[in-house]
């Protein structure tokens, strides 16, 4: 598909989502001007709002990469929500039980443990696919749902901080947290980490041998086998990478912003990550603006509900519309066809 068309489609998505937002605001707010200003402008006003918005896009960059890596190989990882959540808890508990050590190795160990937790789940799905042909679309989903419940169990019954008003763990040691880069917002050095991963994955995908093999495998798995590619290994490595990125998404958010794990903190990270991957058409560089778009919608809805009379759920319906929009890459072709041929649909 022509790059220009894809670019147009991306702008169509952004434009349409803004339009949808405006329409809904006009429909539901008794003071539309105030609401529109709160939704579209407040998130950019000052380092607190803007920094928090950037911080909110970090987990989506990771989950976007996780989904994108799988899609690239023609695989569906629908269990990202569960991998994020389980990885986050594993990382948090690891961090809290580390002995005294230097900051860098401590954070490294924490992140590796979170990534491994996510990988454990996706590797299992990959194994089921390789060994018995179980479709990963369903197995990742079922395992994901289950792990959310299981993680909640551990959160509520084992690692609960009794003194906290909510359901969550105790705080992670100050020494292990990422440094803030834009106070008073929650934006931390994690943002550099996120960019680093984007670049790393871009190189892996576009410039490496592995990326080439993955593309062949996605295009035609049977042909790939004929030309000697080890399809099972490609699928397994892809899923491992996807799970690792998902596991990182949660722990990076905790070390950067949350400082402890709270029940439900990562809600929608996985699903929005999938939308981010679809918008970016699996190009890592485009994940950044896509993740930012989603973070902006959340921030806009939040300030809309605080400073105006909008309901915070407004972000969810705009996101919902985007989910539909990303599916229709043929929309631009279709519209062009209609204009050219009058009304020919065949």
């Amino acid at each position: 598909m022509k790059p220009k068309r894809i670019l147009m489609h991306r702008f169509l998505i952004i434009g349409f989502s803004i339009l949808t937002g405006i329409v809904i605001i006009l429909l539901t707010s008794s003071n539309p001007e105030e609401a529109i200003s709160a939704f579209f402008l407040t998130p950019f006003s000052g380092s607190y709002f803007f920094g928090n918005m950037l911080a909110a896009s970090i987990p989506l960059i990771f989950t976007g990469l996780a989904a994108s890596v799988a899609f690239r190989a023609g695989l569906f990882n629908l269990g990202i929500e569960g991998q994020v959540y389980f990885g986050a808890l594993t990382g948090t508990i690891t961090a809290r039980h580390l002995p005294e050590m230097a900051k860098f190795p401590a954070i490294l160990i924490t992140m590796i443990s979170a990534a491994s937790a996510g990988t454990l789940l996706t590797a299992f799905s990959a194994f089921l696919k390789i060994r018995w042909g179980v479709t990963e679309l369903i197995s990742t989903l079922l395992i994901g749902y289950s792990m959310i419940h299981i993680t909640d169990f551990f959160l509520e019954d084992v690692f609960l901080d009794q003194d906290l008003g909510l359901i969550g763990t105790e705080k992670i040691q100050e020494s292990l947290l990422f440094e803030k880069v834009l106070p008073p917002s929650g934006l931390s050095t994690a943002v550099f980490l996120a960019f680093g991963f984007i670049i790393a994955l871009y190189i892996l995908q576009e410039k490496g041998n592995f990326g080439l093999k993955v593309r062949f495998y996605a295009e035609n798995p049977i042909f790939s086998r004929y030309i000697g590619l080890n399809c099972n290994r490609i699928a397994l490595l892809t899923m491992i990478l996807s799970g690792a990125l998902a596991g990182l998404a949660g722990i990076v958010d905790i070390l950067g912003v949350q400082e402890r794990m709270i029940r439900g903190f990562s809600s929608q990270y996985g699903w929005n990550g999938i939308a981010v991957a679809l918008i970016s058409k699996n190009n890592p560089l485009w994940i950044i603006p896509a993740a930012f778009l989603f973070a902006f919608l959340e921030a806009g809805a939040a300030s809309g509900s605080i400073f105006a009379d909008l309901t915070p759920e407004i972000s969810r319906i705009i996101q919902g519309v985007i989910f539909y929009l990303v599916t229709a890459y043929g929309l631009i072709d279709f519209l062009k066809e209609r204009r050219r041929n009058g009304n020919a649909l065949s």
Partner: protein, 295 residues
């Protein structure tokens, strides 16, 4: 023991209805992944419209209409804009979650449990005559209209698929579109019809979930749409197979509920039971299928 039986029936009803809808699309060759989303949409809209109109019937009909629209939209995006049908189904699931959350917050001003009033919730009753038959009669006691309707629909679907020309046409479309086309069948019409039927069934599933309760909770479908999808796969395009799978999954949900009520095992862990059983069933099915392929 009796409660387990009744719980199984009510859990199975929802899964069965969703699965029968999915079965239609599977037969036509374009499986609808969006069952979960369609069920969720109807789960909110049925009590909402019932609340507005005061009538359960009107509420159901209106909700079904909209659910059918969403279902058709899934195929339409694929047909007109060449979108991947799995992705449009997935998009529907994601949209439905946000959509119902938004409607729940905007229309009913509640983000948690939404209680609907203004209509009579669907109740359980004994079916006259049939419930008096010794032994089998138990099946027809103390179920609600949706449960009885489901049994009727299973029979209807079986007849439709196995005994009518339409059933033949749908299966032909699913097996080989081009051949079906040369035989005079319109594949597009078959697909759209399948998706309309799927919308109807998923709509009923959603209604069956909330109309007896008169309340809606966010994310209420709780994965049952996905479990229905697995039931479709396991049923091997046979309505009786789909029903059997749905009963097994319904039973696992009932078991989970029973343990939650009667034991002190953490409810969170117990909630994984239906998913684990569904996964196990899928693994066994896939393994068997793989073995058959190799022979």
């Amino acid at each position: 023991m009796e409660t387990l039986f009744h719980e199984t029936i009510s859990s199975s009803t929802i899964i069965t209805l969703g699965a029968l809808g999915g079965l239609m699309t599977s037969l036509s060759g374009k499986l609808n992944i969006g069952l979960e989303g369609l069920i969720l949409i109807s789960a909110f809209l049925s009590p909402y419209f019932a609340h507005i109109t005061g009538s359960v019937l009107a509420g159901t009909v209106l909700s079904l209409t909209i659910t059918v629209c969403f279902s058709v939209f899934i195929y339409l995006l694929h047909d007109l804009f060449k979108a991947d049908i799995f992705i449009t189904g997935l998009a529907t699931n994601l949209f439905a979650a946000g959509f119902t959350a938004f409607l729940s917050s905007t229309l009913m001003h509640s983000k948690g449990t939404v209680r609907f009033s203004g209509f009579e919730t669907v109740t359980s009753y004994d079916l006259p005559l049939l419930s008096e038959i010794p032994f089998i009669g138990v099946l027809f006691q103390q179920q609600n209209t949706f449960d009885y309707l489901t049994v009727l629909l299973i029979v209807l679907m079986y007849v439709l698929i196995k005994k009518t020309t339409f059933g033949l046409h749908i299966k032909a479309t699913g097996l080989n579109e081009r051949t079906a086309e040369s035989a005079g069948i319109n594949p597009r019409r078959m697909h759209y019809t399948a998706y309309v039927i799927c919308g109807l069934f998923c709509g009923l599933a959603g209604s069956a979930m909330t109309l007896p309760l008169g309340a809606f909770v966010g994310g209420m479908a709780g994965g049952r749409g996905w479990i229905a999808l697995v039931a479709v796969v396991l049923g091997r395009n046979n309505p009786l197979g789909v029903f059997a799978a749905s009963i097994i999954f319904g039973f696992s949900a009932a078991l989970s509920n029973l343990f939650q009520v009667n034991t002190s095992i953490s409810p969170k862990l117990l909630m994984t039971i239906p998913f684990m059983i569904t996964l196990l069933a899928l693994i066994l099915y896939s393994a068997k299928k793989q073995k058959e392929k190799e022979e």
